[in-house]
């Protein structure tokens, strides 16, 4: 019986020829990640347990992204603790204001993560890097502390669901519509404890930004990880970018999957996840009577260059509807700079939007776009739980950048039309 792609990466990092579903293993880690919310807890645990040195200063990434530039004194204290720890440990991948970006856009962009890696991150959306053909999963701060100390983590080897992609996406759809459609189909615990392995002829039609977005939301189906095979698109993306040599793993021909789900990309339509669970997916075209107060385009799910391009395509030369606040957040400084150079920022401002430097802020109800009671937001973020973006009586609708931008122009949820 063969192994899935995820199982092959785990076996290699555990020093084993073969692993089986359910087996408990200890695996070597290539990268251990934390942010300004989760790293302080990890530092406290690391010190409390009596460790004084991280296992490898080049294999830890600390990214200040949730509440920076700091939203208040307490957040500033947390950033300070991360900064002092990173400095004292000589951590090479420490990203502070000016260099930082939203972690899951930043690490692939900067080539810190690569194909074949085994990665843990104290942030649930760490599953994003599966887009590069890595095993990557979210953990808590104690696991981060243990990972920083030992360079290893324990895992229960997961089984997998195979998503066989065919066809290619219509022009008004993107990776976000694919993953929201899948979550709508299988539910928020449809892949609980398991891998989501995306494969098939349709993969080659998806850009890296689409794949990163799809893997990013694997956690929203309860999955341990999401993963794409490495192809020419991946190799082209990683070329001259990754600091370590990519290692390509492929699923065995006779790998066993819990189930195989067929997804015809050409049948995908723009969709929106209604409150208060990402599985409440409906076609955008059926929600045109839903008025919105705010639009957020950004986050680790959709703050990449193609997302900014999508927003620009819709908003350029147009005006955001009266009564709508539109907040656009490029996910990294490189993307921010590119938006400046291409004239996107001017177009966004002329349309009536505001543009922020990179931050996770509004996505998790931190700052930079908190909702009042009864307010409604359409966002390209990843969660629409009760109170996620502010007041418990506010609502978040999840959508693609095209759908969110189109909705900003009308003030109602709008199915995007693209020529």
């Amino acid at each position: 019986m063969g192994m899935t792609m995820t199982q092959k990466i785990l076996a290699a990092h555990a020093g084993l020829d073969k692993v089986e579903t359910g087996q408990l293993i200890s695996a070597k880690l290539d990268i251990v990640l934390g942010n300004d919310i989760t790293t302080p807890v990890a530092i406290n645990e690391f010190k409390k347990a009596g460790f004084d040195k991280v296992f490898d200063k080049d294999r830890i990434a600390v990214v200040l992204d949730h509440f920076v530039p700091n939203k208040d004194i307490k957040a500033a204290e947390q950033s300070k603790q991360c900064r002092e720890f990173s400095c004292s440990q000589c951590i090479s991948h420490f990203y502070d204001v000016g260099k930082m970006g939203i972690e899951h856009a930043l690490l692939p962009e900067q080539g810190v993560v690569t194909a074949g890696d085994c990665i843990i991150g104290a942030d649930s959306h760490t599953c994003t890097y599966g887009a590069l053909g890595a095993f990557s999963t979210g953990v808590g701060s104690t696991d981060m502390a243990a990972g920083m100390a030992t360079g290893t983590a324990w895992f229960k080897v997961p089984s997998a669901i195979k998503f066989n992609l065919s066809g290619s996406l219509p022009a008004n759809c993107s990776g976000k519509d694919v993953i929201l459609t899948i979550i709508g189909k299988i539910g928020v615990d449809g892949a609980l404890y398991r891998s989501m392995e995306f494969t098939g002829e349709g993969v080659k039609t998806l850009s890296m930004d689409d794949r990163l977005c799809i893997c990013n939301m694997a956690i929203e189906a309860g999955a341990k990880n999401g993963i794409f095979p490495v192809d020419e698109v991946t190799m082209e993306y990683m070329k001259d970018r990754c600091e370590r040599q990519p290692v390509v793993y492929t699923a065995d021909e006779d790998a066993v999957y819990d189930e195989v789900i067929e997804i015809d990309l050409s049948e995908i339509v723009p969709v929106v996840s209604c409150p208060h669970l990402p599985e409440n997916t409906r076609p955008a075209s059926e929600l045109s009577d839903i008025r919105v107060d705010q639009v957020v385009i950004g986050s680790c799910t959709n703050g990449r260059m193609e997302d900014m391009e999508a927003a620009y395509k819709v908003l350029n030369g147009k005006k955001i509807a009266d009564g709508v606040r539109c907040i656009i957040i490029p996910a990294t400084m490189e993307i921010y700079r590119e938006c400046v150079e291409r004239g996107y920022i001017t177009a966004f401002i002329d349309a009536g939007a505001v543009v922020s430097t990179p931050t996770c802020g509004p996505c998790l109800g931190g700052y930079m776009g908190i909702l009042a009671a009864g307010e409604r937001c359409i966002a390209t973020t990843n969660r629409n739980f009760v109170g996620r973006m502010g007041h418990v009586d506010s609502e978040v609708y999840l959508a693609s950048p095209l759908t969110a931008a189109a909705s900003a122009l009308t003030g109602y949820i709008t199915n995007p039309e693209v020529q």
């Binding site: 302080p40 347990a49 949730h66 939203k71 942030d123 953990v139 243990a146 615990d189 609980l192």
Partner: protein
């Protein structure tokens, strides 16, 4: 090890954003954070919970963010155990790592009602509903995980 107390009952898909809203995560102080435990779905919880009480919930408890603050505030409030039909995987891992006892038991999670008096034995996995007299047996943890719990959490287990 055992806990005994009254039950707080919650639905499916209780996410970590309602267990501890992100707006409070500008501190890592567990006692400070614990004041806001569950407040977005149950404002009375922190005032009513007593040491040893038990949370009982449906499927996919603890879904969403990886914040370890979630199991930590539940534990800091005095909750002795969480019983659910299933747990989201990061929450499951975090609970073990920080020493919050959790048990998966579909039947118990279905039948036990709010305010019932229950006792839970973590060694045997036996859950007793004192109010109704009915007992349930939860899936025991694998030996590897029991070892982490016995040693007082993940980091303590690494020191050996």
């Amino acid at each position: 090890m055992e806990t005994k107390g009254k039950v707080f009952k919650y639905p499916d898909n209780v996410d970590t954003d309602v267990i501890i809203p992100a707006r409070y995560l500008n501190t890592a102080d567990a006692n400070e954070l614990a004041k806001h435990c569950m407040e977005d779905i149950d404002t009375s919880f922190v005032n009513k919970v007593c040491k040893g009480d038990v949370m009982v919930a449906g499927w996919n408890f603890g879904c969403g963010s990886s914040r370890e603050h979630a199991p930590l505030v539940i534990k800091t409030c005095g909750t002795g155990c969480v019983i659910a039909k299933s747990f989201a995987r990061i929450f499951y891992r975090n609970a073990i790592n920080i020493g919050l006892p959790i048990l998966e038991c579909e039947e118990a999670a279905e039948e036990i009602n709010a305010n019932d008096e229950v006792s839970v034995n973590f060694d045997t996995g036996i859950i007793t509903n004192i109010t109704t007299g009915k007992t349930y047996t939860a899936q025991p943890f694998p030996e590897f995980i029991q070892n982490i719990i016995r040693k007082g959490g993940l980091l303590a287990s690494l020191k050996d």
